[in-house]
Each structure stands twice: as structure tokens, then as C-alpha cells.
């Protein structure tokens, strides 16, 4: 289904679509196992276009736009298999700029000169972000972080936003990558980029205060992460589906295009229904929530749905391609792997469902 967009929103989407024309499967293939696994100049280009400061208020140098605009850009990034971590960078910038006084690294985060990403996960299955084991000690101005974060998108990162248990509850902290007591151990993924375990031992950190409309800075950023990843998953599904539909129209067997067979048509229809469900969720949540105060249960529901749908859709796309879909040479496999990565980050579908039970008060 079409979206109802303002002309400014449509322009933004089109300029994002133009940006990704230069990305796409070929570029994504080239970045596999590289260090970093994206182009630093292109991240700065995204900064010049304003996308890294998309949620940052105009007074702090950002575009001051909302969640719909963020989702439109990230949907395009997913479609283009863009390797520059625009989504994580943009929401981190939003967090850095949300206090009365922006964090000093904000300007560089918005231009793409510095890459800051959230580091929340402490186990394989996504945790309650408000109950981390990592803790922060010391007085304001001399905070120290100790703990371990897993599955961090640390490729090319210059700093991290870490959730930690503090004296007054969960706190959001900034720690520089080169801070003393901050070490990274990296693992290569099948998707192409590396994920890292971040170990913090008495690492000096800065407190990131909440936005005036947030319940809590950790909660607000976590909900933004879920929306950002889901928007990208939506784009991944859309493009994989389009590639597959083209194949169904062209590929002939039994003397006819295979897309004329009802068994395959119904599979294609199932894929489309899943994509539309996630699309409606992404854009309805985006349209109806303040960027710094997204309802946690709906954000969890969205990530659960997007993660599950993206896996099922990209798996089905490979099946519809037949043997060629199983080759590394064909692009469709890249979409499955991107779906694997984004689905797993910050908790996969099963992990989100587990959290949803409490968040939505289902058993009360």
C-alpha cells in the first residue's frame, strides 16, 4: 500500500533512493570482511545530506525531523544493502543531542567524522535494557564503566553509547573507543561485517541525560534502535521481493514463465502480505510517536514482527529462485544475510516476543 507522504517527505525519500543507487549488492559484496566494512567518505556524505542529524533539533545543528523521515531514509538504506551504519549513527546522534547541553562529540557524529553506535546487548538473546549488568560508578564528571557488551557494530566506531546500572537506576553513558579500560574483541560474521565484544574495566564515561519528553534515556534510545533496525529490515524485504518478482516473470520452465504457476504466485502473495504488515507497523508507529518517547511495547512488537518477516521473506525469495538462489554469485543471498544480521541485533523475534509478554502486560 502507498504511504501518504508530504511533498518534503517524498523528496527526502527520493534523495535517499538516489544515495543508495551508488550502494547496492555490488558495493556490499566489496565491503565483505573489509576493515572497516563500509566507506568512511560515504558516511560523511550521509552526514552532509543531514541524515545523521535527522532527529537532532535545528538549534543543535540537526534537521529536527521526526520518525517518519528517519524510517523513510532507513527503508532506502535497507533496500540498497547500504553498509554505512546510517541508522545506528543517526539515533546515537539524537541521543547525544537530546540534553540541555549537547555532548561535545555531537557535531562530529552528525557530520560522519566520528561514528558513535549503541552497545546494549549482554547476552545472545537481547536483554531488558533497563536491567543491565554493566554498572557505572563514581561522581558526575568522573564516571567509570565496568561490564561487557556483546554483538556491538564496532566496525569503524569511535565511541559507544552504553546502558549501565547506576545509583539512580539505568543510565546512558558515552565511552570513547580509545578510552583506557575499553577493549574490543571482534568476530567475523557471514554477513560480511564484524561484530565485537566490548569489555569495559573502569573506563571513563560521560552521562547522557534524557530528552525532556523521555521516561529514561536508555529506554528512549533502545526503542529508537528497534524502530531503526525494523525500518531497514523493511527495505531489505522489499528489494529482495522485487528481485524475486523479476525472476518469476523472466525465468521459464515447462515453456512458461514460472510466475504464471499458482503455487508460486501464492508464495509471492504471502511474501507481499508479510512486507505490508511490517510496513504498516513501521510507518504507523513512526507517525504516532514522539522520537524520544516511543511506546516500548509497540517498539518490541515491531522488531519481533520485522525480524520474523524478514527471515521468512528472504528465505522464501531464495526458494523461489531455485538453485541459482543458493549460489554466492547471485545477489539474493546477500539479502538473507543482511536480514540475519539485522534480525539478530538487539534481540531476534523470539527474544522480542519474550520481552513483549511483560511489556504488553499479557499475563496480567
Amino acid at each position: 500500500m502507498d504511504l501518504y507522504l508530504t511533498s518534503e517527505q517524498a523528496l527526502l525519500r527520493d534523495s535517499a533512493a538516489k544515495f543508495i543507487e551508488a550502494a547496492g549488492p555490488k558495493a556490499a559484496r566489496g565491503f565483505r570482511a573489509q576493515d572497516p566494512s563500509f566507506s568512511a567518505p560515504r558516511l560523511r556524505h550521509a552526514g552532509e545530506l543531514g541524515w545523521l542529524g535527522i532527529l537532532v533539533p535545528g538549534a543543535a545543528g540537526g534537521l529536527g525531523l521526526g520518525l517518519t523521515e528517519l524510517a523513510l531514509v532507513l527503508e532506502q538504506a535497507g533496500r540498497g544493502l547500504v553498509c554505512e551504519p546510517i541508522g545506528l549513527a543517526a539515533i546515537s546522534a539524537a541521543a547525544l543531542g537530546q540534553g540541555r547541553t549537547p555532548h561535545p562529540v555531537l557535531d562530529r557524529a552528525m557530520t560522519g567524522a566520528a561514528l558513535i553506535v549503541p552497545a546494549f546487548q549482554e547476552s545472545a538473546h537481547g536483554d531488558d535494557p533497563l536491567a543491565p549488568r554493566t554498572h557505572v560508578a563514581g561522581e558526575d564528571g568522573a564516571l567509570r564503566l565496568t561490564g561487557k557488551k556483546m554483538f556491538v557494530c564496532a566496525d569503524g566506531a569511535d565511541g559507544f553509547l552504553v546502558n549501565a546500572r547506576g545509583r539512580d537506576g539505568p543510565a546512558l553513558c558515552y565511552v570513547a573507543r580509545n578510552a583506557p579500560g575499553c577493549t574490543l574483541s571482534r568476530t567475523q560474521t557471514v554477513e560480511g561485517r564484524k561484530l565485537a565484544t566490548l569489555t569495559l574495566t573502569d573506563a571513563p564515561a560521560d552521562l547522557i541525560p534524557p530528552h525532556s519528553s523521555s521516561r529514561n534515556a536508555v529506554d528512549a534510545l533502545h526503542n529508537l534502535v528497534l524502530l531503526a533496525l525494523s525500518s531497514e529490515l523493511l527495505g531489505v524485504m522489499e528489494k529482495a521481493n522485487e528481485i524475486t518478482l523479476d525472476y518469476l516473470r523472466l525465468r521459464k520452465q515447462f515453456g512458461k514463465p514460472i510466475g504464471s504457476f499458482q503455487a508460486l504466485q501464492h508464495q509471492a502473495a504471502n511474501i507481499y502480505v508479510r512486507i505490508e504488515a511490517t510496513r504498516s507497523l513501521v510507518f504507523q508507529i513512526a507517525a504516532n510517536n514522539d522520537a524520544f518517547c516511543i511506546d516500548p511495547a509497540t517498539a518490541i512488537a515491531l522488531k519481533a514482527k520485522a525480524s520474523e518477516d524478514a527471515m521468512i521473506v528472504t528465505e522464501a525469495c531464495i526458494q523461489l529462485h531455485g538453485a541459482i538462489g543458493f549460489t554466492d554469485e547471485h545477489d539474493i543471498g546477500l539479502y538473507l544475510k543482511r536480514a540475519m544480521l539485522l534480525s539478530a541485533l538487539f534481540g531476534n523475534a523470539a527474544a522480542q516476543r519474550r520481552r513483549y509478554i511483560a511489556a504488553a502486560d499479557l499475563t496480567a
Binding site: 504464471s260 513483549y356 499475563t363
Partner: protein, 383 residues
């Protein structure tokens, strides 16, 4: 839900909730069998007097002209209190069709009684030989001077035996090719001589369905809607609206509440495997609400949904069945009871809504037909 109410919306929600609490008869709350029109119409009349019977109709025709969010809030509050589902053929089907295609006289005659609830409508589309292949329908209407003579047989007609009027697709040109080009849209007074109506018992034990036999029924020519042989287009023009209306998340929200009550009563609510399935189902209900809002929003901006509406029909109907599967699971051995089960949390009907739900992937175009529509008309796959 996926959104929070604005201040004025929250007030509106409280007004709706308070009014429903005060005015919906307790006997009609949380019912799983759809009460017959005889039992329902007093409640229909109450809503009508309040001016709330047709939130989605424009004010000029007696509707509320409600905003999208008000419509959704109303649906959510109706679900919350367990309000029964009203006869919809007038409100959701023929009403909007007449607004778009009817003559001034047809609108004046038929729209006010729908709002007032003094006339009940039935839909005469399916025939014994024309189900999924609806264009093969053979009920004949022959124009003779100032009237049609109608001869044929309609089936699966919901509540025809309680209805006053039927809107029907009839064949007016048996030689037309394609067959769709020989079909017209007629309004038939069910009290006309030559009509015989025979109820059909369903697997859910009710007799919502009927067969309608038409034997040389005289229908005045002014009861033709639109032009002669243009009925297929008229019936299809608002299919998007119909699919949207039948996919209202109210049905799924009601089902979800019923599952939670049953699961608490049976104790399975504490089982992690069940909780996972409940979470998945509940997340899909949220997705349906989002799809519904998205679709209504587009419709409000006058972008017709067209074949895209098959998406929400498939998703909504299959979700409702999945929810009822979960209800059966929550009830365990109680699932077979032929009447509502008494629990510490109130009465819960299980078998009946489960059995009722089997129809939703069949009526209004089966899920398989919807997938054909998507494949050909939206995804542009070859034939």
C-alpha cells in the same frame, strides 16, 4: 496499541467508554454467537439515536463523519466492552454503493432506513454454480417495459430470512463476453411475490445463511443501480471498502481478550510455550491495527485501495483463525463444550467462535482468490 491518544482523543475515548457502559445491555456483551437481528436491532436503534451507528459515513447521509482516529477509538472501545457485531450489509456494503452510484431517489429511499435500522439488507451475490467464479452467475433478469423479471437462485445469503431487501448481481445479457459485461446490480424487495427463503444450518450451529429462490419476481426498473450491464464494476468498485470493513481489528481484539480470559481460567497462561504463542498472536493484532489505520488513512486521502485491499483481508481473516486456534488450545478439554464455559473470570464461549471463524477465509472472496488477485493485479505476475 501502536499509538497513544492525543488529549482530545483521550476525552473522546472516555466519553465513548462511559456511554457504552451505561447503554449497552449486559446480555449483549461478550457474546460469541452473533445474536439474531431480532435481538440486536434494539441496540442498533440505541446507537442510531445517539448518532453513532455509522462513524464512517459522511454527515450528509446521517453518519458521524468521524476522523480516522475516532473510528479506531470507537472500534477499540466496542471491542473492549464486547459489543456484538451488527448487521453490516446496509452500513458497509449497499450504503456506500448507493452513495457513490445510486440515484437521488434511491439514496432518499434507502439510506435513512439503514441509519435508523428500520430496514435490514442482505447481499445476493453467490449462487450454487457461482462461488469463487462469481462471474459465471446465472440468475436472469429480463427487462420487460418498466420492470425486470428475475428468475434464479442465490445462496450463502447472510440473514436473508431476517432481511427486508437484497442487493443482487443478476445476468441481464447472457451472450456478453467477457461474462462480467452482462451483469447488472439490482435492489430486490424480499417481500415481493415469487421469493422463497430457506435457512441453512452452519457448522457453528446457527442459521445465518439462507438460500433465496426467485421465481418470476417483478422488480421495478428504477431499482437498477447504475447502468444496465454495469453491475460487475459497481460491485467491485467498493470491494476495497468492504474488505477493509470486514478486516476491522475489533474482531481480533475481541478474540484476544477471550483467549486471555480462557488462559487465565485454565491456568495455561503461566506456560512459557503458550505465552510465546500468545505474544506472537498479540503482536499480529497490533500489526493488523496498523494495517487498518494505514488503509483507512489512504482511503481518507481518497486513494482507492483497489486490489491492495486483498492484503488486509488475507491478514485479518487468517489472524482471526489463528487466534481461535489459540483459544482452543487455551481451553484444552473444555473446548468441546456446546455452550459458554463458566469460569472464575466470567463465561467464555470457545467452540462456537472457533467454528464461526472458519467462514472468514471463505466469504467475501476466499483467501485463495485474494492471493490470485494480489499475484495478478498487484504483483503483476504473468498468467
Amino acid at each position: 496499541m501502536f499509538r497513544r491518544d492525543a488529549l482530545d482523543e483521550a476525552q473522546y475515548r472516555m466519553d465513548v467508554r462511559t456511554w457504552l457502559e451505561a447503554n449497552l445491555p449486559v446480555a449483549l456483551r461478550g457474546r460469541t454467537t452473533r445474536p439474531s437481528p431480532l435481538e440486536l436491532m434494539p441496540w442498533y436503534h440505541t446507537l442510531s439515536r445517539k448518532g453513532w451507528i455509522a462513524p464512517h459515513w459522511p454527515r450528509q447521509y446521517g453518519g458521524m463523519g468521524a476522523t480516522l482516529n475516532e473510528q479506531i477509538i470507537m472500534a477499540e472501545e466496542l471491542a473492549r466492552i464486547g459489543a456484538p457485531h451488527l448487521p453490516v450489509q446496509g452500513l458497509n456494503h449497499i450504503g456506500p454503493i448507493l452513495m457513490e452510484f445510486g440515484t437521488a431517489a434511491q439514496k432518499a429511499q434507502h439510506l435513512p432506513p439503514i441509519i435508523a435500522g428500520t430496514v435490514i439488507w442482505a447481499q445476493g451475490y453467490s449462487e450454487p454454480g457461482a462461488g469463487s467464479d462469481l462471474a459465471s452467475l446465472s440468475t436472469r433478469a429480463t427487462l420487460e417495459g418498466d420492470h425486470f423479471v428475475v428468475q434464479g437462485h442465490k445462496i450463502w445469503t447472510t440473514w436473508a430470512h431476517h432481511s427486508d431487501w437484497m442487493f443482487a448481481l443478476v445476468r441481464t445479457d447472457p451472450r456478453a463476453q467477457p461474462r462480467q459485461a452482462g451483469i447488472s446490480f439490482l435492489l430486490v424487495d424480499l417481500r415481493s411475490p415469487g421469493i422463497r427463503i430457506s435457512p441453512i444450518k452452519t457448522i457453528a450451529g446457527d442459521d445465518e445463511f439462507s438460500e433465496v429462490f426467485l421465481d418470476e419476481v417483478i422488480v421495478p426498473a428504477e431499482n437498477l443501480v447504475g447502468k444496465l450491464n454495469d453491475g460487475w464494476r459497481i460491485a467491485n468498485a467498493l470491494l476495497g471498502h468492504e474488505r477493509l470493513a470486514t478486516s476491522n481489528p475489533q474482531f481480533s481484539l475481541t478474540a484476544l481478550e477471550r483467549i486471555k480470559t480462557m488462559a487465565r481460567a485454565s491456568g495455561i497462561i503461566a506456560d512459557p510455550a503458550f505465552q510465546d504463542r500468545l505474544a506472537a498472536a498479540s503482536i499480529n493484532v497490533t500489526a493488523l491495527s496498523a494495517m487498518f489505520s494505514h488503509a483507512v488513512e489512504l482511503t481518507n486521502h481518497e486513494k482507492s485501495l483497489g486490489p491492495e485491499s486483498s492484503v488486509i483481508k488475507i491478514f485479518g481473516s487468517e489472524l482471526l483463525q489463528a487466534l481461535n486456534d489459540l483459544l482452543i488450545e487455551a481451553a484444552g478439554g473444555h473446548a468441546l463444550a456446546d455452550r459458554p464455559i463458566a469460569t472464575d473470570f466470567g463465561e467464555v464461549d470457545v467452540a462456537t467462535p472457533f467454528l464461526q471463524s472458519r467462514r472468514v477465509t471463505i466469504y467475501g472472496g476466499s483467501s485463495e482468490i485474494q492471493r490470485n488477485v494480489l499475484a495478478r493485479r498487484v504483483l503483476d505476475l504473468p498468467t
